[in-house]
């Protein structure tokens, strides 16, 4: 079992509960898409799986380890086996593409190797091999601030592919790409994951892309799993229930706000609310 969540909850420092009582299993080599409306907790879930966040409740197992119980050294080793593709790749604007890609393997490189590679890139063929299928090998020595959003996303993908992680996570990896490129990139990610036999978990906004490229779909809403089934079995009802929450949420607000009697005069209403605003 690559990923196992047992009643995992996550509450952000501000008190916002992003994930509640999540129970999930993803086996080795599975390719899973996480879909759901904005604010459903997709990014939080991926950060949790990438050990960038620790669960505030429940049990989390990643590649056979419990990250919350690991010592610094063990956590570092686990982290080199997990690669997270960010929606907007956090690359320094002045860094060259080659350096940004090679940084993917810093976890397994010695410090002296990292230092030398900073001055003179040590594995140019390796980086080129990752950028080539993404159609970016001509940008190898270009600075990151000269790339478009879609190109930058592909550099981020190339870095994580270069890392050779056992667990590939992708947070909206194609959000800045045109439809054709997005399709091509997702197909590539899936093919590489299948070739390497690694697990792939990606969050996506585009439902059609998720259904087309992934074997299994997890629908996330308000920090809960709404459905979790093979993509062939995802019905239109599932999807409308997943995304029809805009009007529902507004109704819900009306229901949980009963302390505003309709008969009250406007003047008193203002008097009552004004001090609270200040």
């Amino acid at each position: 079992m690559t990923i196992a969540l047992e009643g995992v909850g996550l509450t952000h420092p501000g008190g916002f509960q992003a994930l509640r009582q999540l129970t999930l299993q993803i086996s080795s080599g599975e390719r899973v898409a996480v879909i759901g409306p904005s604010g459903a907790g997709k990014t939080t879930l991926l950060q949790l799986l990438g050990t960038g966040l620790m669960p505030s409740a429940g049990q989390l197992h990643l590649l056979g380890d419990d990250p919350a119980r690991l010592q610094a050294r063990g956590l570092k080793r686990l982290r080199t086996r997990i690669g997270l593709i960010h929606q907007s790749p956090p690359l320094p604007p002045r860094q060259r593409v080659i350096t940004a890609v090679l940084a993917g393997r810093l976890g397994s490189w010695s410090l002296s190797r990292a230092l030398v590679s900073l001055c003179y890139p040590l594995d140019i063929p390796g980086a080129r091999a990752m950028l080539e299928p993404l159609d970016l090998d001509d940008k190898l020595f270009v600075r990151c601030d000269q790339l478009s959003g879609g190109q930058l996303q592909r550099v981020g993908i190339a870095r994580v592919l270069y890392q050779r992680a056992d667990l590939l996570l992708a947070d909206e990896p194609v959000s800045a790409m045109d439809p054709v490129l997005a399709d091509h990139t997702l197909a590539l990610l899936n093919r590489i994951a299948a070739d390497r036999g690694v697990t792939l978990v990606a969050s996506l906004h585009a439902v059609d892309l998720a259904l087309r490229h992934f074997q299994r779909i997890i629908g996330l809403r308000d920090g809960n799993v709404l459905f979790d089934r093979p993509s062939a079995q995802v019905s239109d009802d599932d999807l409308s229930a997943l995304y029809a929450n805009q009007s529902l949420a507004e109704q819900g607000h009306e229901v949980v706000r009963p302390a505003r009697p309709a008969g009250l005069g406007a003047g008193t209403g203002i008097l009552r609310t004004a001090p609270r605003c200040l």
Partner: protein, 254 residues
């Protein structure tokens, strides 16, 4: 009405302070405009001309200018290195105690002017360029350390965090994630301080810390005005040249 009275009182107090300052300093301003003062000034100015352009003196000036350049360059380089090290502490990367103590150190280094450092260093290290270099390095460390730390605090943290999350060690994550973000600012600050330090290095010689300033001080003390004016012209040329060079470099780096 009372406001006007108050304003009037303030003006009177200012005038009184000015008059008191003049009488305390015993300044003889009228002396500037006496009948023979113009001819005296002209005579003193004429003593500077023509400038001494003999090849021997020019060679000495050239060596002095090189010494001034070297003092400012090495001083700024040392300050850049130690400022970078201290800025890591001052930006709170290694705990709160280190942050507080390094800030105190940087503030102390910065609040003592270069000339005072030079006077102290001449006592500690003896007359000559070494004292000047140390003086510039000490003051500039305080300035650059503070500026570098501010750049470190404002740089985005996401790149380094992403590298840590993929297993990179803290030093590697800093070098690949944070350093590229601060380096352009660090270089720009260092160049600007170097420009200031060249001017300062030309003056430091007055307290015996080497370079063109020391030549100027010696020639003026020995009433060798033609030699002194060549040194002054050399200083002017050097500062103009460095200003132009540094402006060009900063435009290229931006």
């Amino acid at each position: 009405m009372s406001k006007r009275l108050e304003a009037l009182l303030w003006v009177m107090a200012l005038i009184a302070a000015l008059v008191a300052s003049f009488s305390y300093l015993e300044m003889d301003l009228a002396g500037l405009f006496r009948s023979d003062s113009a001819t005296q000034m002209l005579g003193y100015t004429q003593a500077f001309f023509p400038p001494d352009l003999s090849s021997g003196w020019l060679r000495q000036i050239f060596h002095g200018a090189l010494e001034t350049l070297a003092i400012s360059a090495i001083g700024t380089l040392l300050a850049g290195l130690s400022g970078a090290a201290l800025s890591l502490l001052a930006a709170g990367r290694l705990g709160r105690l280190a942050k507080a103590s390094s800030r105190l150190l940087l503030n102390t280094l910065r609040s003592v002017p270069e000339l005072v450092w030079a006077a102290l260093m001449v006592l500690a290290a003896g007359l000559g360029p070494f004292a000047g270099t140390l003086a510039i390095a000490l003051h500039t460390t305080g300035v650059l350390g503070r500026l570098f730390a501010e750049a470190l605090e404002n740089v985005p943290t996401a790149p380094a965090k992403a590298l840590r999350d993929s297993g990179a060690g803290p030093v590697a994550a800093f070098l690949y994630g944070t350093f590229p973000g601060v380096l352009p600012q660090w270089v720009a600050y260092s160049l600007y301080r170097w420009e200031n330090n060249i001017r300062m290095a030309a003056v430091l010689g007055f307290v015996g810390a080497g370079g063109l300033g020391q030549m100027l001080y010696v020639t003026l003390s020995l009433f060798q005005q033609p030699q002194a004016i060549s040194v002054i012209i050399a200083m002017l040329l050097m500062v103009l040249l460095v200003d132009a060079l540094s402006a060009w470099l900063r435009i290229r780096l931006a």
